[in-house]
């Protein structure tokens, strides 16, 4: 019980750190890293919930969901990075144009 609560809190903390840095920073690569970090935080929370009832025999349905989630996250990251490369090749800046300054 103590291990799972520890990782639940860590997962939520990581999620909110990622959320803050997604909104606060301008560099596009940092935003993509922040989205990945948010996803990983959510997965930490889900898997720690799966281990709550019995940590030696965890619930396998959240494990399958997290596996699907990891693969979907890497697809979204790859697409985001392709968009970033295209933006960088068109404008030459790793920031979006509508930011101030």
């Amino acid at each position: 019980m103590k291990t799972t609560m520890l990782f639940s809190i860590a997962g939520i903390a990581v999620f909110f750190i990622g959320l803050y840095c997604l909104m606060a920073y301008r560099h596009l690569l940092k935003k993509i890293i922040a989205v990945n970090v948010m996803g990983t935080g959510v997965f930490l929370f889900i898997v720690s919930i799966a281990a709550r009832a019995n940590i030696l025999q965890p619930d396998p349905v959240p494990h399958a969901m997290v596996l699907t989630g990891i693969v979907v996250t890497v697809s979204a990251t790859a697409f985001g990075l392709a968009l970033f490369k295209r933006i960088y090749s068109e404008t030459g800046k790793p920031y979006l144009d509508n930011e101030d300054k």
Partner: protein, 227 residues
């Protein structure tokens, strides 16, 4: 970069920091009071014999929740289609494909280790039925092999143009074809017959592994034979 800009960014960051900290504390207060719950582990342990494999996560992933995996492979296909349409000649700076590779130690070592990586990925695929492993793990290790070969300046083989598009689409198509055939025989969606469930799952896993490897390698960079 004026005073007004610095003040704006500082105020924005402080406001966002207060907002996220407040949300974090609210969620924390809810999490500490979550009720105890048994989960689905008992039900799955009771039904594992009907699924054809003995690893619980593989059974859930490919049998009990097979529809989610079908959609997941579809999402992978959509992602690679999106990436292929965003690329231009400028974003893919093709490196010099020499006949003799540039770095001797890298090329020698990658040639030494490539069969071992392939062996590990095949082991992960076969062991997915009874031990930790499975199709996506095997596919990502195989994708790491392709990326390693690409990065160590190995020239692409001649047949790579022909088979890449087919292999990328094959995972989703095979899974969809099996689902269609099963639906044509009258059962629910992806309800495997009990005596063939293990073989069907292994066949789908092989298709998913090969397709995932080619998709991840294609997401990284294109590997085409010079026309």
């Amino acid at each position: 970069m004026s005073e007004k800009d610095i003040n704006y960014h500082l105020i924005k960051r402080i406001f966002l920091g207060i907002l996220t900290t407040g949300l974090f504390l609210i969620v924390l207060a809810v999490i500490i009071r979550l009720p105890e719950n048994e989960g689905l582990e008992e039900i799955i342990r009771g039904n594992i014999d009907k699924s054809g494999v003995s690893n619980k996560v593989t059974a859930v992933l490919l049998n009990f929740r097979g529809y989610d995996t079908l959609i997941e492979v579809g999402v992978l296909l959509l992602a690679v289609a999106g990436v292929l349409s965003i690329r231009t000649a400028d974003t893919e700076i093709i490196r010099y494909q020499s006949v003799k590779p540039v770095d001797a130690v890298l090329s020698a070592f990658s040639r030494l280790i490539a069969p071992l990586i392939f062996l590990v990925s095949c082991y992960l695929l076969f062991a997915g039925a009874y031990a930790p492993g499975g199709a996506f793990q095997a596919g990502s290790v195989l994708a790491a092999l392709f990326v390693l070969l690409r990065l160590s300046d190995m020239p692409p083989p001649r047949w790579i143009n022909v088979i890449t598009a087919g292999m990328i689409a094959s995972g989703f198509l095979v899974f969809l074809a099996i689902a269609g055939v099963l639906m044509a025989t009258g059962v629910n969606l992806l309800q495997y017959p009990s005596e063939y469930a293990g073989s069907i799952i292994f066949f789908i896993e092989t298709a998913i592994m090969a397709s995932t490897a080619f998709i991840f390698a294609e997401l990284f960079s294109e590997w085409r034979h010079n026309r």
